[in-house]
Every structure is written in structure tokens, then in C-alpha cells.
Amino acid sequence: MVVVLKCHRGIGPTVEGAALVAADNFSTRYDLDRSKGIFCRPGHSLYGQSYHDKILVLVTAKGGVASAWMLNEMKASGLVPKAIVFDRSNPILAQGAAFADLALVDRFEAGCPTTLIATGDRLRIEPDRGLVTILNRSA
């Protein structure tokens, strides 16, 4: 049996991919070099790492309202996370995910997802069902 985590109903399509996890927050405007697809703010736990095609697992969204547009621009540019998993989202990232049709889930029954999921885990995100499956781990 694989590990299945229940969360709140999310936004966007069902996707599968590799997790990139940090007990840190997320702002598209202030944390990312969107031209290179990497975390660029010194001090961020994922500094220097590529977010492209990864399922980001972080605590919450920070920063201003620009992220609502930027996820769509990132998707159009081709350098974009496959999905975002938060402990709890703020409105801006939810609005941005809805605009970009990017998978976003949060509010897990078992606690903060950064403690439940490890970097490299293979995940299936099902926003409509409120489920995250860790495909490479057995319960």
C-alpha cells in the first residue's frame, strides 16, 4: 500500500512528479529568478535549486499580490513548478493557481506536509479529490 495523505480540496489538474521540500515559505516575486527557473533569494532554504517541473512542498505563501499573475507567466515561459503543496495557502497563491490552472493543495489532516513528504518522493496530486499519494513509499 502506498502512503495516501488527505488534504482540503485544491485547485488545478491531477499531476505526478518529484517533490522538492523545505520548511520555508514562497514568493514568486522575491524568491525566484524566473528567467533561470531557480530560487535566487539568499537565505531561502532552496537557494540555488531549480524549481522547474518539481512539486514544491512548502509552509505558506509570502509576499505581495504579483504572484497571482506570475504563475501564469511562468507557465507560459516553460519554467514552472508542476504543483505547489502548502501547509496553508494565502488567497494570492490560490488565485494565481486558479488563473494559471496549476495544481495547488493545502490543509492536510496529518499535519504540515513539509514533515510528511521528503525531497525526492514521487507524488501524485489529485486536487479535486483532496489527495496526495506518495508513490515510492509503503504505509
Binding site: R41, E73, A98
Partner: protein, 415 residues
């Protein structure tokens, strides 16, 4: 979510594809936050600088703007946050023609949608403030926190697409700060000193923001014996929203939903107060101190300046001359710029060598590219919000009072 007949018609596309997109977007967000229905809003306010829009966002707006007039026009007053570029000053700031072209395209698209280009993050001081209890769809964190807290309006942070959706449908999903239960105080801070100037009001916002650190926390501030001014609360709230993602606070006896401490916590016993002393403010300011350093650019912005702030800058700088190696930028709204022109304030600032930019707010204006083109690194400001966000664009920010900022701009180093 429960939809009435008109909303069902929008969803079915009977009112055109723009309103159909808008209500679908609102349903996706509303379901995510368990909204029971949509609530009618009085105004929408759109943050959409070209840097955050990107090519994809601008092309998307242009496609909306190409729809038939009856389908594309917003149905409630819809206004804009600061733009990325001021056509009157962009060349002096070494912004490019390509940036100006993107700006012009975006403005044309918004005007075709019936959006009023107010280009301001101080609409509550300059356009039309909300009244208590009025539901809004505001697209700037500083606007949301001021209007929710000081004026008793009801808005979430609405990003550009969501604010535009609200303009098209005249509604927004009923969640977060539209709902009574979420407006109750959750943290208690007791002030044991009074900030002395706008930079210290911002510092106080930064301290409370760091300690709150969530969109869903509602800090309550006690210990003030007399009310702060509008500009003081503007800087306090902008920093609180920037450092902590906070969208609502209460000050018992000052803000309208908290006549008393008990009311701020909806009758419940307040949590133990976190004391804030003069030393806390000094400690915060010390993190952003750089006395003696050469200063490249001094910025008054974030939020845009009120007429009274413009008057103070002008009176402090009148008759002096800025250092040749230091740029001074003062950002305000177009309406305040007209007033400042008429009252001689713009002339006083520009005669000393400063630049008054209208309809922009510096950090939304290709800040990284401006730093590279102008060779700027060390930035000095009296805005705690700006020192928080501008480091991500390659600046080394420092915080000081308006008086010290201007003395430093004249000296060419931080005094």
C-alpha cells in the same frame, strides 16, 4: 457554491465569455476557501504592473479587450494600483522604450475594459474611501489592510486576475475578511512607547508583522493614548502586510470595529499581551542602519506619498541641492501630483534635483533593471515596507526618517 439566476447565466456564458471566465475563476477560488456564495462588491482595484503581468498576461488582457464592448466592460467602478512606468519620468530613470511600449499596450487594454487608470496605492486617501461594512475587491496589500482596519471595509488580498474578475461580475467569493468570524482579534500587542515618525510607524508594523506572520492572524494593538494620523497608519499597515502578510488589525478606541479591547476579541478574553518597547523599535531600525555609507538612491514611496507628505518633503528640501551622485525619487499618485504641481511642491523638489514620479511606486517599476542601468546599490528610504522587499532586487536597503533621508541625499552619504 450557491449561485443566483444572474450568476448561473454568467456561468453559462449568456453574458459573454469575459464574465464566464471571471465567474469560473471565482468559483475555483471560492471552493478552495469553502465560500458559501458570492458577495456583491462596491469597487475593484487591480494590481497589474507590466513586470508581473509579463508577456503572457499582457496578451491575455489584449484578448479580453478585443471582445465586443458589451461583453468586455467592467460592471462596477474598477481602478488601478501603481503602474510600472511614468511616461513623464521614465527616461530620467533609465527605463527602456520596450518597457514603455508594454506599459502603453497594457493601458490601452485596461481602458478598453472600462477600467479607470487611477494608478494609485493610496486610493483611500485620494480617490474614494470605502465606508464601514462595504465589501470590496482591493488588489494591493497596503490598501486592503488600511481599508479593512481603519475604515472597516471588507476585502481580501485580490491579485490582478481576481480583482479584474470582480470588476466583471461585481462580486467576489465570500471567504476570509468578508466573514465576521475571521475579523476577530487573535494576537495582542501592547505598545509602551510611541513611534516618533513615519519610518518608526513602519518599523512597528514590521515588528508586529514578523510576530504575526500569517494572512489569517488579526493583531490587536493597545497602549496608544491618542490616535495616529492617516499617514502613520498607512506606513504601519503597509509594513505589517509586507512583513507578516496581515490583512486586518484592530486598535481599540481608534479603529471602528474595536470600540474596546473586549470588542476587538469579540467578547472573548484577550490573549496575554506581547509588550513592545522603544528598544524593540530601535533594534528593528538598527537592522537597516548604514550610517556613513555612500547612498546611491533615496526613495520616498511604498506607499505613494499623500499631499501632506509631499509638502513635508518639499519644505525640507527647498533651497538645497542634492549631491550629484545621489538620485532622489518621490512617488505619488497622479491626483496628488497635479495638486503638488499646482501648489509649487513639485517645483521645489525638482529644483533641488529630485524626481517626482506619478502613478508608480518604485518597486513595481523594474527595480532590478533600474539598479543595473543606473549603477544603484545602496538605497535609503523612510519606508519599512520598501526595505523589506527591495533586497530581493539586488539593492542594499537602509531605513531612516524623512529628515535624515533628505540630509543624506544632500550629503551623498547616510548621515
Amino acid at each position: 457554491m450557491q449561485l443566483n439566476d444572474e450568476e448561473q447565466a454568467m456561468l453559462a456564458g449568456e453574458l459573454g465569455s469575459a464574465r464566464q471566465w471571471a465567474i469560473k475563476h471565482q468559483l475555483a477560488v471560492g471552493r478552495f476557501f469553502d465560500a458559501p456564495d458570492l458577495v456583491r462588491v462596491g469597487q475593484a482595484h487591480i494590481m497589474a504592473d507590466t513586470e508581473s503581468l509579463g508577456w503572457a498576461g499582457i496578451a491575455w488582457l489584449e484578448a479580453l479587450a478585443a471582445l465586443p464592448k458589451a461583453e468586455r466592460r467592467v460592471s462596477i467602478p474598477t481602478i488601478t494600483d501603481p503602474r510600472g512606468l511614468d511616461f513623464a519620468s521614465y527616461r530620467r530613470l533609465k527605463q527602456t522604450e520596450a518597457m514603455a511600449d508594454l506599459e502603453a499596450r497594457t493601458i490601452r487594454a485596461f481602458e478598453a475594459l472600462g477600467v479607470l487608470m487611477t494608478n494609485t496605492c493610496i486610493n483611500y486617501q485620494t480617490v474614494l474611501p470605502p465606508v464601514r461594512g462595504e465589501h470590496m475587491a482591493y488588489g494591493d496589500t497596503g490598501v486592503v489592510i488600511y481599508c479593512n482596519s481603519v475604515l472597516g471595509a471588507r476585502s481580501n488580498f485580490e491579485g490582478g486576475p481576481s480583482a479584474l474578475a470582480a470588476g466583471l461580475t461585481a462580486r467576489t467569493p465570500r471567504y476570509g475578511y468578508h466573514v465576521d468570524v475571521n475579523r476577530v482579534g487573535s494576537k495582542h500587542f501592547e505598545l509602551r512607547c510611541r513611534p516618533r515618525d513615519l519610518s518608526e510607524w513602519g518599523a512597528l508594523g514590521g515588528i508586529v508583522g514578523r510576530a504575526s506572520n500569517s494572512y489569517w492572524e488579526v493583531p490587536v494593538l493597545t497602549g496608544l493614548t491618542t490616535p495616529p494620523s492617516s499617514d502613520e497608519l498607512k506606513h504601519f499597515g503597509a509594513a505589517l502586510a509586507s512583513f507578516g502578510s496581515v490583512a486586518l488589525y484592530h486598535i481599540p478606541g481608534v479603529t471602528p470595529e474595536a470600540a474596546t479591547l473586549t470588542a476587538a476579541f469579540a467578547g472573548r478574553r484577550p490573549p496575554p499581551a506581547i509588550a513592545l518597547e522603544a528598544g524593540d523599535l530601535a533594534g528593528f531600525c538598527a537592522e537597516y542602519a548604514a550610517t556613513g555609507d555612500k547612498v546611491d538612491v533615496v526613495v520616498f514611496a511604498a506607499p505613494q506619498l499623500s499631499l501632506l507628505e509631499m509638502e513635508k518633503v518639499a519644505s525640507l528640501i527647498a533651497g538645497r541641492r542634492l549631491n550629484a551622485d545621489t538620485t532622489l525619487i518621490v512617488a505619488t499618485s497622479p491626483e496628488i501630483k497635479f495638486a503638488a504641481d499646482r501648489m509649487g511642491l513639485t517645483h521645489a523638489i525638482e529644483e533641488a534635483g529630485g524626481i517626482v514620479a506619478a502613478g508608480v511606486c518604485f518597486y513595481q517599476s523594474y527595480a532590478r533593471e533600474m539598479a543595473e542601468a543606473n549603477g544603484w546599490q545602496r538605497l535609503l528610504t523612510n519606508s519599512a515596507k520598501l526595505v523589506n522587499i527591495i533586497a530581493g532586487y539586488g539593492y542594499r536597503p537602509a531605513l531612516a526618517s524623512m529628515e535624515r533621508c533628505i540630509d543624506s541625499a544632500v550629503a551623498g552619504r547616510i548621515v
